[in-house]
Symmetry: C2
Subunit: 210 residues, 2 copies
């Protein structure tokens, strides 16, 4: 755990804090698809992401889904922060998009560290800032963009997260994440293929020049 922590957070946290984390944190490896957080559940630990990617999304009462954003190395879940501090239920769901490694911090340390370490405060506020901005970007794309632009953005982001030019999803899965329907997504993907921007295959899509 030491090397992962130092590599990912050594330049962010002061040494004393690193040591505290080593004492109270627990290292965790989770497989792709592992559900880290469920809507309506209480949260008792805060994750520091060391490697991999976490997908954070929203689901309403009728089962409608919507992708909010991805968390990557060096990120943490602000939603968890607020939930921990306020003793509130989670409003979102978090699932490992790839295999991932994380360090779990017990809730009670957070308040303590916020008072004690400047680097922790910065990290927490920085985290809030990023997440708020990502939410705003998601909102923008839903409110202002048409579905074709949203789809292109989705493909780019997804490929980036998976370090390559391949998106391994069925059209149905993409439709869920964008809160659209399979037929619409197939239609738009076909159009992108005809424009020479992507290559369609069964169960995966190869990005050419988007």
């Amino acid at each position: 755990m030491i090397q992962e922590l130092k590599e990912g957070y050594g330049h962010v946290f002061e040494d004393a804090l690193i040591n505290e984390i080593l004492q109270v944190g627990t290292f965790k490896e989770i497989p792709e698809g592992f559900k880290l957080m469920e809507i309506g559940h209480y949260v008792k630990a805060m994750p520091l992401l060391v490697s991999g990617a976490i997908k954070v999304y929203r689901e309403d009462n009728d089962g409608n889904e919507l992708l909010l954003y991805y968390l990557e190395k060096g990120d943490t879940c602000s939603m968890t922060l607020t939930c921990c501090m306020g003793d509130a239920k989670s409003e979102v769901r978090a699932v490992a998009e790839t295999d991932a490694k994380l360090i779990m911090i017990p809730v009670q340390k957070m308040e303590e560290w916020t008072a004690k370490y400047k680097s922790w405060r910065n990290f927490v506020f920085e985290s809030y800032h990023s997440r708020l901005n990502e939410l705003l970007n998601t909102l923008d794309s839903i409110a202002f963009d048409k579905m074709d632009m949203r789809l292109v953005g989705y493909l780019k982001e997804k490929a980036r997260i998976n370090n390559g030019d391949i998106v391994q999803n069925t059209h149905q899965e993409i439709a869920y994440e964008l809160h659209s329907s399979r037929v619409v997504i197939s239609r738009l993907l076909k159009k992108l293929e005809q424009m020479g921007k992507i290559e369609l295959h069964r169960n995966y899509i190869k990005l050419l020049q988007l």
Copy 2:
């Protein structure tokens, strides 16, 4: 300023903090329509809202507008928080929806107080929590609701903010805030009137039973 502060925040902040606020904060009264924050500008002070309501909204590069949420008595602007700490530009615009009174706190105190006062930390985190949730609600309604539901939600919220059952806006103004068009809003409002839920008048709308 003392009585406004004690009334609005006396039960939230410890006495020592109240005293500090009295020393460094400045009291400010602003008229309806006053622009508190502009997109792309830096922020140098943080507002504690004592009375009135502030409208926070987003505008993209093409001039498309979208209402995010309202701030009320006891609220502060989390966006400002992040901007101050991170020395970043504002991503949103804030305008007084009604005449309002606020106490402005200089940025440099914030970091200090976060270390020093537990009540301040709670306030800040609570504030983030509320704002994140409000953003999520806005997102939900845009992603999952049709325009008629969004309009009903808008009317309710707007009437609540203005303490009554009257919404004083033209159809065009409502269209801007919901990022729709005047004709669409007029159409839907007419439908609501025919259902007996509202009364339409020139320049204002009276809510009956929504």
